[in-house]
């Protein structure tokens, strides 16, 4: 403590720098909303900071995270109390000497085993089943899923819908036109006629959505925090994951993997709609965009 008192002037000086720093912090707090679209949900709220969860599976991930953090805090606090107590109790002072004999303590061993067992439980009991269900066990056709192809590119998301027939048209890189045919849908494939590509992700509420994710150029990562969904979009691979929205509203899709200079702006909107709204939107979109369909006919 004596040392800290000696440092008092410096601490005051430092504090002043900090107060000066806080002014712009306060000024900046209400950052302008860049998009004019209203985004639903709560973000960064104390104490978990986690965004609103609007998915069927998100709860599992959140539960695991909560248990983990409680576990971590308990361990750290318990451990920290002993640490600080040691520092105080065994500080060097006149009349106090260190004890050469090492303590024979069983407690750390038991604690070690307990921690290991708990980790094993987290892994086998929680993480693995959740992973298997969320990542690998796709819904069957009986669950009436929506199929969407997600194709990432620098710096946009393309959502390719199969249209009313529910079948995707053939795609190939040579048909790509950045403006009229970003997905490279084969114009001669009849199944592709009603396919359409959207820059916004529209999904119906309460139906499983199977997304098949790939990329045209570099590695991106398809991330929807409110859905607790994340999957790298890797060129040369088409990876399927699924999620099920449980609440309507407008949310955001982000890219989580560095993909170039505008990585930060690779944002798309996700609209979760009622079944009827969704169907109306599909109907509307399947009609157009007229440009390329008619040109090729």
């Amino acid at each position: 403590m004596r040392i800290l008192r000696g440092c008092a002037p410096a601490i005051v000086a430092f504090a002043m720098v900090w107060v000066a720093g806080a002014a712009p912090v306060l000024g900046q707090a209400a950052a302008p909303d860049v998009s004019d679209v209203h985004i639903d949900g709560q973000y960064g709220t104390f104490p978990t900071f986690m965004p609103t969860d609007v998915s069927k599976n998100g709860h599992d991930v959140d539960l695991l995270l909560s248990i983990l953090h409680v576990f971590m805090i308990v361990l750290f606090v318990g451990w920290g109390i002993f640490f600080v107590w040691c520092l105080f109790k065994f500080r060097a002072r006149s009349g106090h000497t260190a004890d050469y004999k090492l303590v024979k303590a069983k407690a750390p061993k038991y604690l070690e085993v307990a921690v290991a067992l708990f980790e094993a439980f987290l892994l086998i009991g929680m993480s693995m089943p959740v992973w298997a269900r969320v990542k690998n066990k796709l819904p069957t056709e009986a669950d009436n899923p929506v199929h969407i192809r997600v194709v990432a590119e620098q710096f946009a998301w393309n959502f390719h819908y199969p249209g009313k027939d529910g079948v995707f048209g053939k795609v190939a890189p040579e048909f790509v036109d950045p403006v009229s045919n970003p997905m490279g849908i084969d114009p001669s494939d009849p199944k592709g006629k009603d396919d359409f590509v959207s820059g916004e992700l529209h999904v119906p509420v309460d139906r499983p959505v199977i997304t098949s994710i790939t990329s045209k150029d570099v590695i991106h990562s398809f991330s929807i925090p409110v859905m607790r969904v994340k999957q790298d979009a890797i060129p040369g691979m088409r990876i399927k994951i699924w999620f099920q929205p449980v609440q309507t509203g407008t949310y955001e899709v982000a890219c989580a993997q560095l993909c170039g200079n505008n990585h930060y702006s690779m944002r798309a909107l996700m609209k979760i709609e009622s079944q009827s709204d969704y169907e109306a939107w599909v109907e509307e979109m399947a009609k157009g965009p007229a440009e390329f369909d008619e040109d090729d006919l």
Binding site: G44, L65, F76, S127, R228
Partner: protein, 583 residues
């Protein structure tokens, strides 16, 4: 550094520049690495401005840098004093690369390892002194190449320190420089690690059995094996990426890439994941390359300043060996989001959970060492003690990232950044500071100022937590890492206050280093002179003069006992050096 060199009629160049003396090379490594650390940190301090106040001109530097590097550079990279996204990305990539490969590893392995390890085992020098010199100069060249890459057309590498293909393959020329630099740095590490292993095995003084080695030497020994066996696959990967960039091959490029609407003319057939495998095969062991020598340093300091033997020395040695071995089995936990099946992700998650156990053991041993000690709070010890809780936070937050299911929410977010920075910054870098304060008297024959040192510690400790703690909150909120401007997203916007806090923490941390810089340079000339053993320590380096002459020891030491015999009952002093015989 060694004014005891009289009698050796080497010129200035042979004595100070192209020296084969491990101590000179150690100091060269340490000083170069400290300069790189500071430079890497400066890059980050600039990035933190853009993060805190996106689109606002950087004060002072926003004017200065365009003037310094010319109008063209200014217009492309800093129009109106605002950092461009390209510049942001290349600073980000170079911050990571410089901190890890040019800063921390050369400091704790090249610097402390080279200087302290031969002294601790009672050796006159490293086994291959010329190789040692070559290792430093290859590292130096690698560093120069990395720095030069900032002036390559299109700027320095900008694909992250991980350089994931295909982004890195299609990136600007700076990436090629980066690869060449990496190949040089890897070569340097390989030369160094061969030298370390042979030295530790062959040049131990008489009586210095493996289980009488100071823990620091064990840490360096295991680290050298990691460098030796994990680095070459990255060198291979570097060569492959160089081929992709220069010879137009497609090791990492699958068929049908369409960049900006243009179908790329590649043979195809490559795999982007191949790069990640080869990269993480190195980069996970690399984490332990960063942390094990740090553990070694703080173990020395904690044993010395608790004035009692280490609790569980052998357990710690076995743990560190086990850690090193297991670190080769966990690499794909960085790749959970690349589309991985349940069984293989379970495998890597299991190995990840297993590897946490020896880390906990190491921490526990050090904690119990404090129990019934007589703790001296000097600057070195303060830094070493802060390592413990900081590493604990870093380690614990690894758990949610190591479990695939919770990783879904946290992968590639600020949580990851917070996690590994807690391990490396208040962890390893604090350990490195502790080492500087601890061994400075040995190197210069003078002590650093305790008062400035404590100020340095106090403000660094507060500031570094202000920098990194908010990152966990941001990560949980879902903010992706490597974003030039996170306010575009609702969650990023909501967390912007924390970003600003974090930035101010970073600048405060920078300011706190002034204490260190002043202390460091003034103490070289003005510090209090010390004798050979200012800390009343037991290990062999303290039996050599400060600074040790060429050849290290006046007479070849013989070792009689374990490394940390403090407070032995019935002795007049509370330390019993390894080289002092019973009589």
């Amino acid at each position: 550094m060694s004014d005891h060199d009289q009698g050796h009629h080497h010129g200035f160049l042979r004595t100070y520049v192209f020296s084969t003396d491990h101590k000179v090379i150690g100091v060269q490594y340490a000083v170069t690495a400290l300069v790189f650390l500071f430079f890497g940190f400066c890059l980050m301090m600039m990035m933190r401005w853009q993060l805190a106040y996106p689109g606002h001109a950087i004060p002072v530097l926003g004017d200065l840098l365009p003037k310094l590097f010319g109008k063209d550079w200014g217009e492309t990279n800093m129009a109106g004093g605002v950092m461009s996204p390209d510049l942001y990305n290349s600073f980000g990539a170079m911050h990571g690369t410089i901190m890890i490969f040019l800063g921390v590893v050369p400091l704790i392995v090249g610097g402390f390892g080279n200087y302290v390890m031969p002294l601790q085992i009672g050796a006159p020098d490293m086994s291959f002194p010329k190789l040692n010199m070559a290792s430093y100069w290859v590292y130096f060249t690698g560093g120069v190449v990395m720095l030069a890459s900032f002036f390559a057309p299109g700027g320095a590498a900008s694909s992250g320190w991980t350089s994931y293909a295909p982004l890195s393959v299609t990136a600007t020329q700076g990436q090629t420089w980066w690869l060449v630099g990496m190949v040089l740095l890897i070569t340097s590490s390989l030369l160094g690690s061969v030298n370390f292993i042979v030295t530790i095995l062959h040049l131990r003084a008489k009586g210095m059995t493996m289980f009488r080695l100071p823990f620091f030497v064990w840490a360096q020994f295991v680290t050298s094996f990691l460098l030796l066996l994990a680095f070459p696959p990255l060198e291979a990967a570097g060569v492959l990426q160089l081929m992709d960039r220069v010879a137009g091959t497609s090791f990492f490029m699958p068929q049908g890439l369409v960049v900006s609407g243009v179908v790329q003319d590649y043979a195809g057939g490559g795999s982007p994941l191949l790069w990640q495998h080869l990269f993480w095969f190195l980069a996970h062991p690399e984490v332990y390359v960063l942390i094990l020598p740090a553990f070694g340093i703080i173990t020395e300091i904690i044993a010395n300043n608790t004035r009692k033997p280490l609790w569980g020395y052998r357990t710690m040695v076995y743990s560190v060996i086990f850690l090193g071995f297991t670190s080769f089995l966990v690499w794909a936990h960085h790749m959970f989001m690349t589309g991985m099946g349940t069984s293989i992700s379970a495998f890597f998650a299991t190995t990840t959970m297993i590897i946490s156990i020896p880390s906990v053991i190491l921490l526990t041993c050090l904690l119990i060492t404090l129990y019934r000690g007589s703790i001296r709070f000097n600057t070195a010890m303060l830094f070493a003690l802060s390592f413990l809780p900081m590493f604990a936070i870093g380690g614990l937050t690894g758990l949610p990232l190591g479990l695939p299911a919770s990783d879904i929410a946290l992968h590639d977010t600020y949580y990851v950044i917070g996690h590994f920075h807690y391990v490396v910054a208040p962890g390893t870098i604090f350990a490195a500071f502790a080492g500087v304060y601890f061994w400075f008297p040995k190197v210069t024959g003078r002590r650093m100022s305790e008062k400035l040192g404590k100020l340095h510690w106090f403000f660094s400790f507060i500031a570094i937590n202000v920098v990194f703690m908010p990152m966990f909150f941001q990560g949980l909120a879902g903010v992706s890492r490597r974003l030039y401007d996170q306010t575009l997203y609702s969650w990023g916007d909501a967390m912007q206050g924390w970003t600003i806090t974090s930035s101010w923490g970073a600048w405060a941390l920078g300011a706190a280093q002034i204490f260190f810089i002043v202390n460091f340079f003034s103490s070289i000339k003005l510090g209090k002179r010390v004798t050979e053993n200012p800390w009343d320590a037991t290990t062999l380096e303290w039996s050599a003069p400060s600074p040790p002459p060429h050849g290290n020891f006046a007479s070849v030491p013989t070792v009689h006992r374990e490394p940390y015999e403090y407070s032995v009952p019935g002795m007049s002093t509370d330390f019993f050096p390894q080289n002092v015989s019973e009589a």
